[in-house]
Symmetry: C2
Subunit: 314 residues, 2 copies
């Protein structure tokens, strides 16, 4: 039941000798979500030992080169490694001709299909789900059409307390009701017995969540959209003193990111997408942490676990 | 008067965690030639401290992804760094729609023009020259249209020996003749005096040359086309025992590369484009060196100087 974020790239538009372009791989229960795919993503995946074939969902925020120029090499490599399973790609509509160009020019011999889903929403909406996981997209505010993503565990079904099964002699249909979160109601001879779900069942864990917000200018709705996520990744291209530049380029500062985390009540804030002007990132951390103490700097090849939040069996 | 090869990538189709896709930067007299541009080239250039703006000529051998997928990021970065000077690109005609796609989709704001020259030849021909350098292309034998390149110093003009100027009282026009390689002939009163160029002038250096042959199956003409180069880069995707695979994929083995170097009378042989199957490259070196002893293995970020070959003033 892992929920593990792998950071592959933290650069903004210009990569440096030690910062790669944007890419995160989130591993939820062994299912890999690649979020953005800047140049060099496939090499960083190799360095982290991440299987190309286990990635079945790619989320692309926008078609600026530093977020997508690794996709050509990655798709080619998946093909050469013999991938046959479908790859889901969630991206703005503008990525469609990019993908078509790739397939027409370089796609010969690929034996897997790519199912591209064009993002289009004005507020968070579910774009992908499995039995236990869901992905939402929501619009960001950048120079071109851009989307953020939330990947989260779904609310798990109730587990029935083993001791209650014997104690109440629960039938299969009663156990089913409890799993669905319904109280058990027994009527017999004019009397009614209620076995409340709160006594006989429990949630095995609290769903975990991760939000990805890059690239964006700050805007009022965002904090509400990512409210309560365990890990908020929010770009912080510039330090606070470069607010003018951030406004001009539709990016965020350290303070913008931290204020969003604070308003959202996020568990932790992870910042990245650093301007190549800066080699020392300690001011980025200081500025953000002065507003939102639980801030982390993203670094290439970092792994961040979000531990399972097991509930107590009361 | 440097002639310096920088190796940026040595992988074949699949990059590994420590091998990048194909790219060489040759620095001849301070002019930078980028030869192939696999994914990650711009990051490798940063690591080597190679200026993006000093590259004015890009030679692309063919449009397989591992030789060109770094060009999008590199061109974008050149644009963001404010490049205004024209960039020459020499590539097979199939690269034209790739470039057009890039410019149409990602080229907004680029303030430099790209002068693409479509390669088309059946034997070596000069495709680019300056006063002191020339670049030749020649066809290779691969699964798609592919070209190799020779970059070499031109034959320098003669220098006139200073002691001869006084000794013979050479006039300006006589000095000009000697520089062109002509003997000085003085006729006066029925007598003729000859001052031979071999006595009064000398070549300041012997031209240096580098050939790039990737990707290719071996073929008989190639050794003749790269005859006498100081440094022959020849792909060696496979060890000798994988000859069948090399034939099938239109690649070369270590022995193919070494035999080409031997027949060509190359100064040194540099091999690369290693199959990702192999982490230990010592068998590659042993096999090639058993045929052509002066063989080098290409490694990421290696720098290889070809020293100036000054002639003795006799």
């Amino acid at each position: 039941m892992n929920f593990t974020l792998n950071i592959l790239g933290t650069a903004s538009a210009l990569p440096t000798s030690d910062r790669y372009s944007s890419a995160h791989v989130l591993d939820v229960h062994g299912r890999l979500f690649l979020i953005d795919c800047g140049e060099g993503t496939q090499m960083q995946m190799r360095r982290k030992g991440i299987s190309f074939l286990k990635v079945d969902t790619v989320c692309l925020s926008h078609i600026h080169g530093d977020h997508i120029f690794g996709i050509f090499g990655l798709l080619s490599t998946m093909g050469m490694l013999g991938r046959t399973s479908v790859l889901n790609v969630f991206a703005p509509p503008a990525f469609r001709p990019v993908l078509d160009f790739f397939l027409n020019t370089f796609g010969e011999g690929l034996r897997f299909s790519i199912d591209m889903h064009e993002l289009s929403c004005e507020a968070p909406e579910v774009v992908f789900q499995t039995r236990t996981i869901e992905v939402l997209s929501f619009p960001l505010r950048h120079r071109i059409e851009t989307y953020g993503f939330i990947v989260r565990e779904k609310e798990p079904p109730f587990n029935v307390r083993k001791d209650c099964i014997g104690k109440y002699g629960l039938s299969l249909s009663e156990i089913g009701a409890l799993k669905r979160g319904e109280d058990v109601v027994r009527s017999s001879g004019g009397t009614t017995e209620v076995i409340p779900v709160s006594e006989a069942a429990y949630k095995p864990y609290v769903p975990r969540s991760y939000a990805y917000c890059s690239d964006t200018a700050p805007f009022p709705e965002l904090a509400g959209w990512v409210r309560g996520v365990d890990m908020l990744y929010h770009e912080a291209t510039y330090p606070a003193e470069m607010k003018d530049m951030a406004v001009k380029t539709f990016h965020s500062t350290t303070e913008d990111a931290a204020e969003c985390a604070l308003k959202a009540g996020a568990g932790r804030l992870l910042i990245g997408h650093y301007s190549s002007r800066f080699t020392d990132l300690s001011p980025f951390l200081e500025q953000a942490a002065s507003i939102f103490p639980d801030t982390l700097l993203a670094h290439e090849l970092d792994t961040i676990e979000i531990p399972l939040k097991k509930t107590e069996i009361w």
